[in-house]
């Protein structure tokens, strides 16, 4: 079903081995962190004894295992990988540019398209942040949708992160209470991984995707065309889409909310409410709520987010999303993780616009 270019990016030897090494460093880094956490426990600090305040938690960890070799090495590896994964993936693409560029442009034609329209002003929290500590952020290079969405996701992240990152998207989409939505909006569609899951679970729906990154959406359009899908993609902010009121039956997102400062999350729920037809469903999936995790697991997320270039993760993960959805007018709001302990990732929040 997927073209070889998308299903399993074909890199030349250097790029393949360099990305593979990044994954190896990521795995080694996680092992070092686990070792450091055992040292923490040996010294009497556990999820139950860590302080409530997150900064105080970091201080405690630094005080107790700051000079432990495993913790120091984890810091070194995290820092190096954060800085180098972007350039390594970029170089891997460049090495195969002559094969990849024509293969990607062959997917430009088809029913999925990035709608040509004036690009709205980009919010400063997005434009001024180098997400994932990659120079230039989401739009860092002409083919970053492929570099980030396919090379990094399929050859690095999928091999490092626990669980099947694509099955998580299908599980999130499957949690929607109905199967017969006619019109679905995917907010923060990016390079289209969740959009693929939506198309699979709701084959009859007409799917619209929005994101702030044209480079990511260009790739989503190619990914849609590779699957014979007719996705309409727009560069629009989720908090102010400019799309007609009451024009969707399901508004959904996967891993968008942790990219946003809390006031924008509130605005996204309000916009979602406006966009839904009466009786329509809201389904957002994101990272676990810190308040629902044990203090060590929450500390680990915060530690990884700090190194990983995720500036709004802590504020966003500290927000009560059920309360935010209720404030926006949703009824029957439910929230909780659907994954396995101790993270229960992904975290889902659902509600309905009253009919």
């Amino acid at each position: 079903m997927e073209t070889p270019t998308l299903a399993s990016p074909r890199l030349a030897q250097r790029g393949r081995a360099a990305i593979n090494f990044q994954a190896g460093i990521g795995i080694a880094s996680a092992r070092l962190l686990a070792q450091a956490e055992r040292a923490l426990a040996d010294r009497g600090i556990t999820a139950d004894t860590l302080p409530e305040d997150m900064d105080a938690r970091h201080d405690t960890v630094a005080h107790v295992i700051g000079d432990h070799p495993a913790f120091r090495l984890n810091t070194l590896l995290s820092e190096w990988r954060a800085k180098s994964h972007g350039p390594v993936a970029r170089d891997a693409f460049e090495e195969q540019r002559d094969q990849l560029v024509p293969a990607l442009h062959a997917l430009d034609a088809g029913p999925s398209r990035l709608v040509e329209e004036p690009i709205p002003p980009l919010p400063s929290y997005w434009a001024d942040t180098e997400f994932h500590r990659t120079e230039g952020g989401w739009d860092s290079s002409a083919y970053n949708g492929y570099v980030h969405g396919e090379i990094l996701h399929k050859l690095m992240l999928a091999k490092m992160f626990p669980g099947d990152i694509f099955a998580q998207r299908r599980a999130a989409a499957s949690a929607a209470p109905r199967r017969d939505y006619a019109r679905i909006l995917d907010m923060g569609a990016s390079s289209g991984h969740y959009t693929v899951a939506l198309a699979e679970i709701f084959p009859a729906a007409r799917i619209t995707g929005i994101d702030l990154s044209p480079r990511m959406l260009e790739h989503a359009a190619r990914s849609g065309n590779a699957r014979g899908q007719a996705w309409q993609l727009h560069v629009r902010p989720a908090e102010d889409t400019g799309l007609p009121a009451e024009s969707f039956d399901l508004v959904t997102s996967f891993n968008l909310l942790h990219e946003l400062p809390p006031p924008v999350i509130d605005a996204v729920f309000a916009e979602t409410f406006r966009l839904l037809a009466p009786g329509g469903d809201m389904l957002m999936s994101d990272v676990p709520r810190f308040a629902e995790l044990d203090r060590l697991t929450a500390w680990r997320f915060d530690h990884l987010a700090k190194w990983g270039g995720e500036p709004f993760w802590r504020a966003s993960a500290s927000m009560d999303l059920a309360a935010a959805a209720t404030r926006a007018g949703f009824t029957g709001v439910t929230a909780g993780g659907i994954g396995t302990a101790p993270t229960f990732h992904p975290y889902l929040i659902q509600g309905r616009k009253p009919a």
């Binding site: 081995a17 090494f21 820092e79 190096w80 180098s84």
Partner: protein
């Protein structure tokens, strides 16, 4: 001997610490970058040997007898410079340079 010694600047081992204490992290990162390069080569060599073996060629002996042509030497030099630049960038705490 003694006449020459009076012109020489006395070596001070303590003054020969080229890297400052704040460069120790960069040294660690340089080591990781270098390990990555070594891994890429290890992988490539294994691939090469496997491909040659598929064609019934024992590469090891042939590699030792091989003399690079001027063109190959030029290409090798470019690769060498990229390798050095990558390691030096990490050591200097700078962005990894794009390919030229």
């Amino acid at each position: 001997m003694t006449r020459h010694a009076e012109y020489a600047v006395a070596g001070d081992p303590a003054a020969r610490s080229a890297l400052g204490p704040n460069q120790i992290d960069q040294l660690g990162e340089a080591l990781l970058a270098l390990t990555g390069e070594v891994w890429i080569l290890t992988d490539r060599l294994a691939v090469l040997e496997a491909i040659l073996a598929e064609h019934g060629i024992d590469a090891a002996g042939a590699i030792d007898r091989f003399v690079p042509s001027p063109d190959m030497e030029k290409a090798l030099n470019a690769k060498r410079d990229k390798l050095i630049a990558t390691v030096l960038a990490a050591l200097a705490g700078q962005a990894i340079p794009a390919p030229t």
